[in-house]
Each structure stands twice: as C-alpha cells, then as structure tokens.
C-alpha cells in the first residue's frame, strides 16, 4: 500500500524496534530525537502538501485515502484519510511528541522502557487521527490508553498508583460506551461498512440515534474532560511524568473532542438535535466550573489541570453551538490549548525537578532564580488567559463570535456565561504567577537552583514559537479547518 499516512504509524513502530535494539542511553536518545524530528518534518510536509492539493482544486472530503480489507465478515478495513482537521491534529501531535522527548531528556530510571511506552502511545495517537474506519479508530484509541497506565503508574509521582488506576478505569469506562456507540452505528446503518465517509451517506434510524448518541458523546466526552466526568484529569495529570502530562493534556484529551465531532455529531445528527442542549449545559458548567476550581488550587499541576477542564470544555461547548465559525473555533482551540497546556506542563515539570515542590505556597521569587523558565511561564500564562498575539485569543474569539451566530436565546445565555471565563482565567493565572514567581525568595535552598538547560530550552522555545506563530497568523489554520468543517456541519445544519 502506497500511502504517505501509513508512515505516521510505521515510523513510531520502527522507533520502537530501534529502542529495543539500543544498548546505551545515547542510542536511545538518538533514536528518539531522529524519529520525533522525522515525524515533525513529515507532518509539516503533509500540511503544506495538503494545502497545495486543496489550492489545486481537490475538493474531496478526505485526501490521501486508501483502504485495505482487514476482516471481511465485519467489513473492517484499514482505511486511511485526512482532512484539514486531522492534518492540524497530526501537526499538533508531532510538535508535542517532539518537545516531549526534550522535556524528558534527563528522565531516570529505565529511560529506554519509558521511551518504548511513550512511542507506543504515539502510535495510538497518530493511528487515531489518520484512520477513517470506526473500528480501526477504536483500536488505536485503546492502544493509546494502555501505555498511559504504565507511564503514570511506574514513572509518575505522588499518588501515582491511585491516579493511574483512576484515569485508566474512567477512560476504559468511556471506551466501553464508545464501543457500544460504534456498534449501534454499524448495525443501524445496515452492517455494511465501518468507513466514516460512507456511513455519513447512510441515514441511521432516528430511534437508534436518539438512544445511542448520548452514549457515544459521553464516551468521548469523558476523554475531553466533560463535567462531571473530568475528575480523572487533575489526579492523572498531577501524577504523570512531564512528557506524559504534555502528551495527555495536549493531544489525548483532543481525541475526545475530535471523536465527538467526527463520529458522534457527524454520524448521528438526529441524536445531536435531541441531546445537544443537555450536553451544552454540561459543557457550559465545565467551562465556568473548571475556571473557578482552578482559582483555589495550590498545586501547579492541579491549577493547570482544572484550567484544561475549562478550556477543553470550551472545545465541546463550541462544537455544540453548531455553527461553522464556532466549530472552526473549537478545532482551533484544540490546537491552541494543546500547545499551551503542553507548554505549561513542560515548565511545571522543569520547575518541579528543581524545587521538588509544586505547592505555590511554598515557593516565591522564582523569577530571580530561574529567570528564563519564569519568563516562559509568564508568557504561557498570558497566552492562556487569551492575550492577543497568542493562539488562545484567536481560538477563543472565533468560538465566541461563532457562538453568537446561534440566535437561540438558550444558546445566547450559555455563550454569555462562557465568555465570563475570560475574567476568571485572568484571576487564577495572575494569582499563580504573582504567588510563586514574583516576590522575594522565601527558601534559601532555592538560591542554588539553576536556570533552564539547553534541552529544556529546545522544548519550551519550540512551543512558545508555535503558540505565538498561531496567534499572530491564525489565518492559515482557520482556512485549513473551516473548509473541512463544512461537510461535517452540513449534516446537522439544515
């Protein structure tokens, strides 16, 4: 099969082979860096090539499609294909995998095993974004979940066993719901195909949509930290090692929003019409609730995890607003939040590695001691609170303008409640920054700490450049996404 997309799965698999064969730490790092760079280069190439193809007039819904039969009796195919949404998600994954490698540069012990699982995780993530077959997607989704358990349970910190168990069990519960949903779609559509583009042409019986839409949406919603099923996220993120937090909050949580949009909403428009408002209430709560919760947390990772609940809530919120602009904004928010939260987790991990505490009450004046990391943290914070010039602003404004296009009063009220989050975000970000970065140094032991090393700078600067790049020139991403959003939302906008 001659498809460039398959490389996204093959490269990580080859990397795993390479890791297995590696005999020294140095070789492990060589494998990881070369593999991650290759993936990054490949995704940049794909983005440009994709834009080129679109500009050349190719208006198929999916590009680079190919399909081989995998299991005939159930019509399971290994079908690949990408549109603008998956392309930006692939780019996001590559950036985060790349920076994650540098963020775990000094990780010990069992570095080789750690990277093996880490790479397996990326197989799952890439596989999910490149496939357009329900079963294949589900399979890759499961592939992504398992390594998470080990990565947190073995290399984590704090209550790692508890967190790993909680995270995995809750997400497994979600995937059980997803499986039921997928089967209902498959049988509802006449048991003839698992391919998403083909399924979208088939009308699934209304009663099936009404019954199974909430299961499917909830299943993916759990992964997208939908209230009240977000509780795995703070514990999970707090215990996970740096790069895993980055990958998890940055990419894996986006699988949720992606699945909601690409599978649940796309294939079950009738179900969406019936259940949309119920879920809209939950997402609106998520947005405000996450932000308020973050205001009183004292652990840096918890603050960021609740902030993620709020921002990921905004993704689902925007999807449920069901206008073209808001859905475009949702995908941009996925991209933007992925980058910003990865930046945050990277910085928190680096600071924790030095101070051995994440409690903001125990730290003060870090700006004096590690100016580079601290300045980057302030930049990340400003990006997070939606300062123009960073990606968050472009994404949030697209969401709010798009949500306002929905003239229904109920939707309007939700929109206005959700916009309030921009103030609360400012409250918790500035509170955090003021508490632990500014002020006088309160712990003399901190005075011996060092500033960022070169590998940390690579990770952090790459992410900042991406966040600023997307924020200063959002046009290309917005264009890329909105053309691909069109066929999906045309399903549910009459």
């Amino acid at each position: 099969m001659c498809n460039i997309l398959i490389l996204f799965v093959v490269i990580p698999l080859v990397m795993m082979l390479g890791l297995w064969a590696s005999r020294s730490l140095c070789q492990v790092k060589v494998v990881m860096v070369s593999g991650a760079s290759l993936l990054l280069a490949l995704s940049i190439y794909i983005v440009f090539n994709y834009i080129g193809l679109r500009n050349a007039g190719n208006d198929a819904e999916m590009l680079y499609t190919s399909s081989i039969m995998w299991y005939e009796p159930l019509n399971i195919c290994f079908s690949l294909g990408v549109d603008g949404i998956s392309v930006v998600m692939i780019l996001l994954s590559s950036i985060i995998v790349f920076t994650g490698v540098f963020a775990s540069w000094r990780l010990k012990p069992m570095t080789k095993e750690y990277f093996l699982w880490y790479t397996l995780l990326t197989v799952g993530v890439y596989g999910f974004f490149i496939s357009i077959d329900l079963f294949t997607m589900f399979m890759f989704y499961e592939v992504a979940l398992i390594p998470m358990f080990l990565l947190i349970g073995v290399w984590g910190s704090g209550r790692k066993e508890y967190s790993a168990m909680k995270l995995t069990l809750m997400l497994m519960g979600g995937s059980a719901l997803i499986l039921i949903g997928i089967l209902s779609i498959y049988y509802g559509a006449g048991a003839s195909t698992m391919n998403i583009t083909e399924l979208s042409q088939i009308e699934i019986p209304t009663n099936i949509q009404h019954t199974f839409f909430p299961l499917l949406f909830l299943g993916f919603g759990i992964l997208g930290a939908l209230f009240p099923f977000h509780t795995w996220s703070p514990d999970g993120h707090a215990s996970a090692p740096t790069a895993v937090s980055m990958l998890h909050a940055g990419v894996l949580m986006k699988l949720g929003g992606y699945g909601c949009f690409r599978i649940a909403m796309y294939l079950m428009p009738e179900g969406l019409a019936m259940w949309g408002e119920v879920f809209l209430i939950l997402t609106t709560i998520s947005v405000v609730y996450g932000a308020f919760s973050a205001c009183v947390q004292t652990d840096l990772k918890y603050i960021n995890a609740y902030s993620s609940v709020s921002h990921c809530g905004l993704v689902l919120f925007a999807l449920l607003m069901m206008t073209r602009t808001s859905c475009t904004g949702a995908i941009m928010q996925m991209l933007s939040h992925g980058l910003m939260t990865a930046l945050f987790f990277a910085l928190i991990g680096m600071m924790y590695g030095r101070t051995h505490t994440r409690d903001i009450r125990e730290m003060s004046g870090l700006m004096k001691i590690m100016p580079c990391l601290a300045v980057c943290y302030v930049i990340a914070g400003l990006a997070n609170l939606g300062l123009p010039g960073f990606s968050g602003f472009a994404a949030e404004m697209t969401i709010f303008v798009g949500s306002f296009e929905n003239t229904d009063t109920f939707h309007r009220v939700c929109t206005i409640i959700a916009t309030c989050s921009i103030v609360i975000t400012a409250v918790y970000i500035l509170r955090t920054v003021g508490k632990f970065l500014y002020g006088e140094v309160n712990n003399p032991e901190f005075l011996q700490l060092t500033d960022a090393s070169w590998d940390e700078k690579v990770a952090v600067f790459t992410l900042i450049v991406c966040v600023a790049g997307l924020g200063l020139a959002p046009l290309w991403a917005s264009d890329l996404i909105s053309t691909s959003v069109e066929p999906i939302i045309s399903q549910f906008i009459k």
Binding site: L430, P474, D479
Partner: protein
C-alpha cells in the same frame, strides 16, 4: 501615507530587540535603542499629522478618513477581523499626543531609571506599550481596537508590576489587570452584539443594518462604554488606578495619566456618531457617570497624603470631565449642541501634556527625597528650581488660569455643560474649583509649607539631571502655548471647522472660582503651620477619614473578590469537586473492591474446595435434571 506602518513596526522592533537581546546589552545601549526608535516614531507621527492636515479637506469641508492599510487577519464566515491603519482627525491627534509624551518619558527615564535592575526590561515594556497604544488609536475596526486594548492592558500590568519583588506592586498589577479585564468582558460582549447585528466590525457600518438592529445598538454601545469606563477609571471601576501608582513614576506619567487611561474617552469619541444617531439616550448617562466620578475623585484628592495618589485621583477627576463633555453633546453639529466632543478631545490633548508634566515633576521630587509622602517634603522650592517652576505651570494649567492650556479646554467643557443644563454646568464649575484647591494644596505642601528639616539635612534634595529636567521644560512650554492652538479647526464632532470662541461669562465664572480656590489653598496650606487644615480635619474627622480611605470603595471590591469569588464560589466548588464528584467515583471503586472481597472466598485456590463445589454442582444439576 504608507509610511504610517512604521508607527507600529518601529516600536515592535525595539520591543523584540530589547526583550530578546536586552540581557546581552548594556543598560545604556538599551535605553539608547528605545529612545532612538521613539525619536523615529515621533518624527513619523509629526510628519503624518502635518501631511494629513496640510492635505486639506474634502469638498464637503470634512477631513478625509484615510486607510492606507487594511488586511484581513482572521475571517469568521461573513465577519472578519482586519488589521490596518486608519487616519482621521482624532487618531492623528492621538498619534501626536502619544508620541510626544512617550518620547518625553523615554528621555526622562534615562535619568530616572538609571542604575535600576531590569533597565532593559523597562525599555522593552514601554516600547511594547507604545506600539499597542499607537495600534489602538489607528485601529480600522472595533475588533482591532479590542486587540490593542488588551495589549495596552498587559503592558500596563507588566509595568505596574515592574518591581516584582514588592508585594504592593504585585497586588496592584494584578488588580489593574483583573478589574480592567472585568470591564473588557462588557466590551467584548458589546463587540459581539455589534458584530452580529450590524454584520461588520467596522466603525462605519451600513445604516440600514443599524436601523434594523433596533434596541441592540444602544445595548452594544453601552456595553462598550463599560469597557471604556474600566480603562478610563470611571466610578466604580476606578479602583485600580490609584494602586497602579506602584509602578515607576514615568510609567504613571505615560500610561496612567496621559495615554492609556484616556483610551475609554477615545473609544466613546470613536463611536460618537453611532451614539448620537442610534443611542442618544445613553449619552446623558455617560455624562452623569463622568460627573459623579469627577466629583468623587476630586473629594478624595483633597485629603490624600501621597503625592502620586493625589495626582492619580486628579487624573480620574479630569477624565470624568472628558466623559462629561462627550456625554453632554446632543447633536453632531459643534455649533448646535455638539461642542462637547471638540471640548473633550481638546481637554484630552491639553490634559495629557500638563498631567504628564505633573507626574514627571512628581517623579523628579520623589527622586530627590526618596519618598512619596508629603510629610517628607515641604520647602523644596529652594532646592529644585526647575521642577518648582514647571510644576507650578502645570498646577496653574490644571486649575484653569489664563493663558495656560487648561483654561481653554476646561472653558469649552464648562460651556458645553451649561448648554446641556445649568445644574450640570454649576456642578462641573464647582468641581473645577475643587481641582484648583487640591492642586494648590499639593503644590504648597511640596514646595512651601512645613519643611521636613531633619530629613533634608540628612539628605539634601537636589535638582534632577538634565535628562529629567529637559522633558519638564519641553512639556511646560507646550502647556503654555497649547491653549492657543485653534483646535476646532482640526477636530470637531462632524469634521467641519469650528471656530473656538471663548464665552465671556463662563470664562469669568471659572476664572473667579479658580482664583478663589487657589487663594483658599494659599490661606490654608502656604505657611509652615496649617491650623485651619488641622482644625477642619479634627472637626470633620469622620468625613476626613472616609475620604482618606477613598470612601471604602476598595473595601467593597476586596469583599467581592475575597469573600464572594474565593470564599463563596471557588472554595465550595473545589470542595464539591473533591468530595462529591471525586467521592462518587472513589465510592464506585470502593464498592467494587468490597464486593469482590465479599465473594473472593469462592475462589480460595484450594483444589479440595473446588472439587467439593464441582461435585455438589454436578449432583445438584443431576437432581434437577432427574426431577424435571
């Protein structure tokens, strides 16, 4: 006019250079780069202003609105955010104000900030601020304005918190950002409503769309005014401004006196044609809010003891004057009810100059005595002659004494108020009198009055270096002559030339009131003993204390944030999350564990037990089969 893009590129460039490479260069070099780029900006803006106004008016007697640049930055289906440069009389006027003050502050800071750690960072931030402020005034549409509006907010945050190890500075910067963000929420929702119903973010939308939007336009404009009120420190959103004085003094002069805080006035002026045509009922409210703010701030300014706080409240009060002037305009025609618009812009211009002068003068004094408190001063006229004279000029200007610039602009405002209704006119005249009083109280307490001999002997105050006094002299010169600028020829509400004529009655009233107030202040504060002031303060102790504590408005805000947001919302939510939601899932886990514990004896890994169960089962099944 293509070169106007330089106005944004130059400061951005110097921000990036100083921000990224600042640590690798000497402070002097950084200051030089920043100041040089500002000289460039000033030349470009003066050149722009000259070219713009020299090019003359259109056939209909109005200056043209030029848009040399306009790019689509982010499209949203039908709407889009554009970025560009728009030149019209008020934006060109603002360019001149911003670049002049900013250049003065850049030069002044070379002396004032000398030897401070973070000198490079300081210059990087004020470059960022200058860029954002210039971007704000040349915005081609309301969304671009909002973008730069947020950027000036963050520059202000960074500069207030410049001394980031000082707890007061951290708290002040946080407060400034959050309060203005709260107001910006109103601005944002206003923009969203405006954009949705009008179908564009531009300032000159389609009239038919505006009419069909009906009641939504007043709503949108009112919400935008909330944003403006936050930035321009209107009551009760003013609380951040006095605290913002924690920043370096030149920053207060640039951001919190002359440029950023008048952004709200600029916003209302920018939307003025829409206000007049589609929301005339909102304008009087703007006037009432402005008047109340002016009164409140003037009352508080009379009793403050920190000289920067006095100036901060004076700024709030003066911005109130500008808002009032806009609010009392009842038509677009300057000769018939629309005078306030011109008066407001004129006052914005003159106030920027003399208030920056006051702040820079205050900086010079603080530099000399190392304290903000009046008690550390007194009798400074002997030590600092240049500062003394320039400060006096600024005080006379703000009090409204002919022929200084403040007289002319304030007179126009009062005339507009008397046109609106006499009550408003007399109120504002009284507040103008209070202004003269508290400014001269300040002046006497610093330069005359009771000298703090102990302090001055231990550390003799001396005149500041040339880099600091030069800006003072330049600004004082501008203050002396700015009143004679035929301002109405350049800026007026409908764009046609308006000939400023001084209304003799109003002028006489305001002059008499100002002179009386100054005389009163002289009587009370000029001597080294101040018996009258002390008696009054003890007689009206309650009032004095309330005014000194700014009428406890800050307490209300602390109550709202600490008690309501943190104690009553966030803490319960966090508790709910930890105990109810998390508890539920933990309980699920525990139940499962409990159940499996209960039934695990069935699987106790003893073969004998399994055999018994197997046998028993078989027997049971056999019996069941035999029976049925």
């Amino acid at each position: 006019m293509e070169y106007t893009l330089l106005l944004l590129i130059l400061p951005l460039f110097s921000f990036l250079v100083l921000g990224l490479l600042g640590n690798y260069m000497k402070p002097k070099v950084a200051g030089f780069i920043g100041t040089l780029s500002l000289v460039g900006i000033t030349i470009v803006s003066y050149f722009t202003a000259y070219n713009y106004f020299a090019a003359g008016r259109n056939a209909d007697g109005v200056f043209p609105t030029l848009i040399p640049y306009n790019w689509e930055w982010l499209p949203f289906g039908k709407l889009s955010i554009d970025m560009g440069v728009m030149l019209d009389p008020i934006s060109v006027m603002m360019l001149v104000v911003i670049s002049t003050i900013s250049l003065m502050v850049h030069i002044y800071s070379l002396g004032y900030m000398k030897g401070e750690t973070g000198f490079q960072r300081y210059y990087a931030f004020i470059s960022l601020f200058t860029m954002s402020m210039l971007g704000l005034v040349v915005a081609t549409n309301i969304f671009q304005m909002y973008i730069f509006w947020e950027l000036v907010g963050v520059s202000s945050y960074l500069l207030i918190g410049f001394y980031y190890t000082k707890p007061a500075a951290i708290a002040a910067s946080k407060k400034a950002f959050i309060v203005t963000r709260f107001a910006d929420l109103g601005f944002l929702i206003g923009i969203l409503i405006y954009g949705f119903y009008v179908g564009t973010f531009s300032f000159t939308p389609d009239t038919a769309r505006l009419i069909s939007a009906g009641a939504m336009i007043p709503l949108a404009l009112s919400l935008m005014f909330v944003g403006g009120a936050g930035k321009s420190a209107m009551f009760p959103l003013h609380i951040w401004l006095p605290d913002a004085m924690e920043g370096p003094t030149p920053v207060s002069a640039l951001i919190h006196a002359a440029t950023m805080v008048v952004a709200g006035v600029f916003l209302v002026a920018r939307m003025f044609p829409l206000f007049i045509d589609f929301a005339p009922e909102v304008l009087p409210w703007i006037a009432y809010i402005g008047a109340f703010t002016a009164l409140y701030a003037a009352a508080v300014a009379c009793v403050q003891s920190d000289i920067k706080r006095v100036l901060a409240f004076s700024t709030i009060s003066q911005i109130g004057f500008m808002m009032v002037a806009l609010g009392v305009s009842t038509s677009i025609d300057p000769n018939n009810g629309g005078l306030g618009y011109m008066a407001s812009m004129f006052h914005l211009f003159t106030h920027a100059m003399f208030k920056a002068l006051l702040f820079l003068g205050a900086g010079s004094i603080i530099h000399a005595v190392h304290s903000n408190e009046m008690s550390a001063m007194g009798g400074l006229r002997r030590y600092m002659p240049v500062t003394h004279i320039t400060f006096l000029i600024a005080c006379l200007a703000i009090a409204g004494i002919w022929p200084l610039s403040g007289f002319f602009s304030k007179d126009e405002i009062l005339a507009a108020c008397f046109n609106f209704n006499p009550l408003m006119g007399w109120t504002m005249t009284a507040i103008a009198g209070m202004t003269a009083f508290y400014m001269f109280r300040l002046y006497y307490c610093i330069f005359w009055g009771k000298e703090n001999k102990e302090l001055h002997e231990a550390h003799t105050p001396k005149e500041s270096p040339l880099s600091m006094t030069l800006p003072l002299i330049i600004l004082a010169a501008i203050t002396c002559v700015a009143g004679f600028i035929p301002f109405g020829k350049f800026v007026s509400s409908n764009g046609t030339a308006y000939h400023i004529h001084i209304d003799a009655t109003t002028a006489a009233i305001s002059l008499v009131v100002a002179v009386c107030s100054i005389a009163l202040a002289t009587l009370v504060y000029a001597r080294s003993k101040q018996p009258i002031a002390d008696t009054l303060a003890t007689r009206f102790a309650g009032l004095h204390k309330a005014a000194y504590n700014r009428f406890y408005i800050d307490k209300v805000w602390i109550f709202i944030t600490k008690q309501i947001i943190f104690r009553c919302i966030s803490t319960p939510i966090a508790w709910f999350d930890k105990h109810i939601i998390d508890g539920f899932f933990n309980m699920c886990g525990k139940c499962t564990a409990y159940l499996s514990k209960k039934i695990k004896w069935l699987q106790d890994s003893h073969i004998q037990h399994y055999c018994i169960w197997f046998l028993a089962g078989t027997v049971l099944l056999t019996i069941i089969l035999l029976i049925f």
